[in-house]
């Protein structure tokens, strides 16, 4: 019951947020000079009359409120506007590209946490010995490398070794492959961008796991457990980790958003057909509705990430349940 009320309230907030984001994106795009047809004007083969007719057709000269209202109508129809460059509704385009981005980020997120939690716990358990020192130094070094550089280094590796694809998502002739070959082909393309994302996100998560665990391990109740002779693995995994979980679960939600924005860069560098390249093209060609669509899709994924994290928190921590009931 409490969970339901919480969910309804959060969904309502999310809708308001998406609404505000769309409005602001509209306004900011309005402030930038030029539009999709500006470049056509430079082309001597297209007459000014044709351009004027197109402007009329797309309704580019209408005042902002009218265009926003028209866009909202199209949202209600489930189209999210019309792409000038692709000459089709934005929604299906977003879905195709968003699916690919989601595949990348979810895999990267799962892998990041799978690796980061054990590393963070280990380094917190042995802070002054070699595991703690090595992991700390490693994460700092990795964290100071820009995402772009990591992606480029990985590409270099792919070119040198030919173990991985240097771009794209599927090979030619994917349709004719057997299931095994398809999986292999997907992995061939998939591994590098995922590794780039994991390496970019890993240090932050490891540091947070380390910090949360280190703080909990200082607590007197840990000392009591050790005094009772509770084995160290049980102290760490059954006691310290669940107690440290709250800030980490919140980070889990936020890290989804971070991964998403990192993913946009990695996708462009590794030509992964996700939202990243779509966003870049849309920016260059001033394909405004695609732009707004990508921004909204990213916001939606970020909101969903935090919502999932909050739901897990609500489920795992009885104290939060009591507070939201009050």
């Amino acid at each position: 019951m409490i969970a339901l009320r919480f969910l309804v309230r959060r969904a309502f907030h999310a809708i308001l947020l998406l609404f505000a984001v769309s409005l602001l994106t509209f306004l900011f795009l309005q402030l930038a000079p030029g539009d999709f047809l500006s470049e056509m004007k430079l082309n001597p083969q297209i007459s000014p009359e044709t351009i004027a007719a197109l402007r009329q057709q797309y309704g580019l000269d209408d005042p902002l409120p009218v265009r926003y209202a028209r866009w909202l109508q199209s949202v209600a129809r489930g189209e999210f506007g019309h792409s000038f460059a692709y000459n089709r509704p934005v929604a299906p385009l977003l879905w195709e590209r968003g699916r690919n981005t989601l595949m990348l980020t979810v895999a990267a997120m799962g892998l990041t946490w799978l690796v980061a939690v054990p590393l963070g716990v280990w380094s917190a358990a042995r802070p002054k010995r070699w595991p703690g020192r090595t992991i700390s130094a490693g994460t700092v070094a990795l964290h100071s490398l820009p995402d772009l550089l990591i992606a480029l280094l990985l590409l270099m590796l792919a070119v040198r070794t030919r173990w991985f694809a240097t771009g794209g998502m599927l090979s030619l002739g994917f349709e004719e492959m057997t299931l095994g070959e398809r999986v292999k082909d997907l992995l061939y393309h998939f591994t590098l961008p995922v590794v780039a994302l994991v390496l970019g996100n890993l240090p932050v998560v490891v540091r947070h796991v380390h910090a949360a665990m280190a703080e909990t391990l200082e607590a007197p109740f840990i000392r009591v457990l050790r005094a009772h002779g509770v084995p160290e693995w049980r102290v760490l995994l059954r006691h310290a980790l669940p107690v440290s979980a709250n800030p980490l679960l919140s980070l889990f939600g936020v890290s989804f958003g971070v991964l998403l924005s990192q993913s946009l860069i990695v996708e462009v560098v590794m030509t992964w057909p996700g939202l990243g390249p779509l966003l870049l093209e849309a920016v260059f060609s001033r394909d405004v509705y695609v732009l707004i669509g990508v921004v909204l899709a990213s916001t939606l994924l970020l909101v969903l990430g935090t919502l999932i994290a909050d739901c897990i928190l609500l489920w795992t921590d009885p104290r939060i349940r009591r507070e939201s009931a009050a």
């Binding site: 109740f221 000392r223 009591v224 050790r226 005094a227 009772h228 002779g229 509770v230 107690v243 921590d317």
Partner: protein
């Protein structure tokens, strides 16, 4: 009451422990001796008070004799073995016999556990089955005055005094020989303090317990300890029976502690 000469439960010889203190800006390290050649004996069944001002090393001593923070050097004899020389496995088997009660019982429990789970945790290691564990914990809860109905509640829903009782019950689940009370009574109001002290005094003969009471309050410790050890800058500067130390304090540190105690509480030295 004066302690009769009985076999020592724990014997510490020349314990040393120093901490490295780093200057926050220059970063140069400086060793601070928290325990400096500390030698003392705790007789079985006695109550020994360890008093001293803040930073005198009394809490380090508490953590050293329970091996929570092993000393750098020295010997610590308990039940026929030197704890400082034991391997991790052997040490873990001895640990249950040396229990500590901390000042802040609120942070002494895993916040996600119920009272019963917290009480059962130490017993899991001893291979006791669930039914036996539960009945033992509930029996101890009853002895410290926690109702069986409350055992399923989360630990943080208990009051401060009840948490202290839970902590005592939990420490007793593993039948310890020694219970170190590390500033357990600081910051408690007087009636609560009296209740807990009475509870501990009642439990002592029944469970065959020995207490080491760490405190900065000499007057309070003097009321129920057999022996008193006064620490100053990592060293034991005075020790003896409670009446000796209270009536004829030799060291100026002891005298200072007594003066501050009587200033604060209006307590006066017993007439000799």
């Amino acid at each position: 009451m004066a302690a009769e000469p009985v076999a020592p439960l724990i014997e510490a010889r020349r314990l040393r422990k120093s901490f490295v203190k780093r200057h926050p800006l220059r970063g140069n390290a400086q060793a601070v001796a928290a325990l400096d050649e500390v030698t003392f004996t705790v007789s079985s069944g006695s109550i020994v008070g360890v008093v001293g001002e803040s930073g005198s090393g009394k809490s380090t001593l508490a953590r050293a004799i329970t091996m929570l923070q092993p000393p750098d050097s020295g010997e610590l004899w308990f039940a026929g073995s030197d704890l400082c020389r034991l391997g991790p496995g052997a040490l873990r088997r001895v640990r249950p016999q040396l229990q500590v009660l901390f000042q802040d019982s609120a942070t002494a429990f895993n916040p996600g556990f119920t009272a019963l789970e917290a009480g059962e945790e130490p017993l899991r290691l001893q291979g006791m089955d669930k039914v036996a564990r539960r009945s033992r914990v509930l029996e101890l809860f009853r002895q410290v005055g926690i109702a069986e109905a409350a055992a399923q509640r989360s630990v943080h829903s208990f009051s401060g005094g009840q948490k202290q009782r839970l902590a005592i019950a939990r420490a007793l689940t593993v039948s310890p020989k020694l219970l170190v009370l590390d500033e357990t009574f600081s910051g408690q109001d007087l009636s609560l303090r009296a209740q807990i002290v009475n509870l501990l005094l009642d439990l002592r003969p029944e469970k065959g317990l020995t207490y080491v009471v760490i405190s900065h309050d000499l007057a309070f410790v003097g009321q129920f300890c057999d022996e008193i050890v006064v620490m100053h800058r990592g060293r034991i500067v005075e020790s003896g029976t409670a009446s000796q130390v209270l009536r004829a304090p030799q060291h100026e540190q002891t005298q200072a502690l007594l003066r501050s105690a009587s200033l604060l509480t209006g307590w006066s030295r017993p007439a000799s």
